[in-house]
């Protein structure tokens, strides 16, 4: 499943073994955009039982989207706790303190997923 990037939403690609989120995220209506993404993620995860890798590379997200990211990671953490092998790569540019801190903060709530901060 592919959600093409728009000016205010990131590219999202979801397959049975991986998910990519890349771009900027400040949609006009967060739930209108996020609900289908979460549903596709749920379906993607249910397509197989192997390792699942999530790459998140965001350059900006607004405060409403922070809540979506929190729920997104919470969902992955739940799947991981239930036994799925999940790796999350939080990718950020070396000069981007805001995204580095955001990546560090999301990591605090994840103990079952394998979580990596990756400088790009």
């Amino acid at each position: 499943m592919i959600f093409e990037a728009t000016q205010r939403t990131p590219l999202v690609e979801i397959e049975s073994d991986r998910c990519l989120v890349r771009g900027e995220c400040y949609p006009e209506n967060i739930s209108e955009w996020a609900d289908p993404v979460m549903q596709a993620l749920d379906e993607g995860l249910n397509q197989s039982e192997g390792a699942f890798t999530v790459d998140v590379e965001l350059y900006y997200f607004n405060s409403s989207s922070a809540k979506f990211l929190f729920d997104f990671f919470d969902f992955l953490e739940g799947a991981s706790e239930a036994g799925r092998k999940i790796t999350i790569n939080w990718r950020y540019r070396s000069d981007d303190d805001t995204m580095q801190e955001a990546g560090e903060d999301f990591e605090e709530d994840l103990s079952h997923c394998c979580y990596n901060l990756v400088v790009i």
Binding site: R8, Y60, N62, D96, T98
Partner: protein, 181 residues
């Protein structure tokens, strides 16, 4: 404004904007579609070669949160479409940018805004970061309108912010100014 606006008033408007180096200003009805349209020129204006990308991104973040605050919480709406009315501006200052926003608020919201922003203004970056995380986990407090993540997000991106209230014929104005340096 009357239809007899003199040309020197137009020049005065031009000169005033030039003098204070206001490179973007919008005043009027706002909605999310308009914000989408405004985002690109704003991004372009704040991303010249001399501006560090990290600084531009912080300015953009404050701009988006302020614009969305106006859209969601302005108490002054157009009769026809119900769009929120407000003013938002970005100006160049010596070592960065000043982002200013003004909108009418519901009178009963004033105390909540006063308390929230006073509290945020006493916190350092590390405390703001902790509060942001906590708010993200716990959700907004009871009776929150805009007292959620948005103001904390802005406080983390600015080096300084100020707020004020003014009673006018238009209503109770809420003024927020954030300096990004």
């Amino acid at each position: 404004m009357t239809k007899n606006t003199r040309s020197d008033e137009t020049v005065a408007l031009h000169s005033y904007m030039q003098e204070r180096q206001t490179l973007f200003c919008y005043s009027g009805p706002m909605n999310e579609e308009l914000l989408t349209t405004m985002s690109n020129p704003v991004k372009h204006q704040i991303s010249d070669k001399e501006t560090q990308e990290a600084l531009s991104r912080r300015v953009f973040g404050v701009f988006i949160e302020q614009a969305q605050n106006i859209i969601r919480y302005s108490h002054h709406k157009t009769k026809s479409s119900g769009d929120s009315i407000g003013t938002i501006a970005i100006s160049v200052i010596e070592d960065g940018f000043l982002i200013e926003a003004v909108n009418v608020i519901a009178p009963e919201k004033r105390a909540m805004l006063q308390n929230t922003l006073s509290e945020l203004s006493t916190k350092d970056q590390e405390e703001l970061r902790t509060l942001y995380k906590q708010r993200l986990r716990d959700g907004p407090p009871d009776n929150s309108v805009g007292a959620g993540l948005g103001f904390i997000d802005m406080a983390r991106r600015v080096s300084k912010f100020e707020f004020d209230f003014k009673n006018t014929e238009e209503g109770d104005l809420f003024i927020y100014r954030g300096w990004v340096t």
